[in-house]
Amino acid sequence: MTTSIRSFLDWCSNTETIIYIRDSSYGMPAVQSVHLIGLTVLLAAMLVLNLRLAAVSMMDWSLPAVERQLRPWALGALTLVIASGMLMFVGNPPKYLANAAFLFKMAALGLAVVCQFGVLRRFFLSDPGGRARPLNIAVAVLSLTLWFSVGWAGRAIAFV
């Protein structure tokens, strides 16, 4: 199992496209630009949604309406960051797998996705109206902390 994953990654790392992205002068900046555009849209969507959950912004819209409006943009941006992230990763898997910041980032990303789109989803689908319930504020703070630690861990990959 592990061997087949490893040989698949080796094969990926040696395809012409991946080598071009890794070694050409504009390949990495292009892929990272897409990564940053995705990050901007994804985290902005998470900001708008969680600020609404905490009842401090977008009070003209109900919470489920905000969630419904943002969902396609958040999921589209998530696809963009994961796809561009994978292009970077397969360029040099051993380098990333040995990087503590990368491993932390993947754990935080998994947790953020599971929280936002999974276990905490009912908070975003139920309508608290205009009231800022302490539990909702706590969920919003937790969710935003998780998403932004993914971002900071990503920045740290280049420095650790």
């Binding site: 900046p29 292009a30 990050l39 902005a44 912004s57």
Partner: protein, 163 residues
């Protein structure tokens, strides 16, 4: 003093050299510059989608604008202060860089675009807001903003690769 001379002077101020030589200060400022993207640019992009009729088309655009601008002010405060400091540390390299120059040009265009919206189109928002769809002028401003900010991100990321 020439502009390049000024850039070289800026880069050698004790403030700029202290930051470039610090092991943790430079990554921290650079990270803040990138992680302020969602709060500044991202919030504006959300409103651009509203102007283009791609999201939040059910509510009042004027209310969404107020909400978005209120939060993005903090984002842009972080953006411009960290951006200014990052420029100081690498001023002469940035001066000669095509992507940095394009980024500045785009920021000027985006500033004019935002000013036009605020002064010309914003006062007329109440007229079209109740009907839902934004008029051509407002849509055009939204499109310029959307494309312009994406360009700024691309230029910002690419210029750092050439330093």
């Amino acid at each position: 003093m020439s502009l390049l001379g000024w850039c070289q002077w800026l880069e050698h101020t004790s403030f700029a050299t202290a930051i470039s030589e610090s092991v943790w200060l430079f990554p921290l400022i650079e990270g803040s510059h990138i992680l302020a993207l969602p709060l500044s640019v991202g919030m504006i992009l959300m409103f651009d989608l509203r102007l283009l009729g791609l999201a939040f088309s059910t509510g009042l655009a004027a209310r969404m604008m107020a909400d978005v601008v209120r939060w993005s002010k903090f984002g842009f405060l972080i953006m411009f202060s960290t951006g200014g400091v990052l420029f100081m540390t690498q001023a002469s390299k940035a001066y000669g860089n095509g992507f940095f120059r394009t980024k500045l040009l785009l920021l000027v265009i985006l500033g004019i675009n935002a000013a036009v919206y605020q002064l010309v189109l914003y006062p007329k928002m109440a007229q079209w807001d109740a009907r839902g769809g934004a008029p051509l002028g407002a849509r055009l401003c939204g499109a310029v903003s959307l494309v312009g900010w994406i360009g700024v991100i691309i230029c910002g990321r690419t210029m750092a690769y050439q330093f």
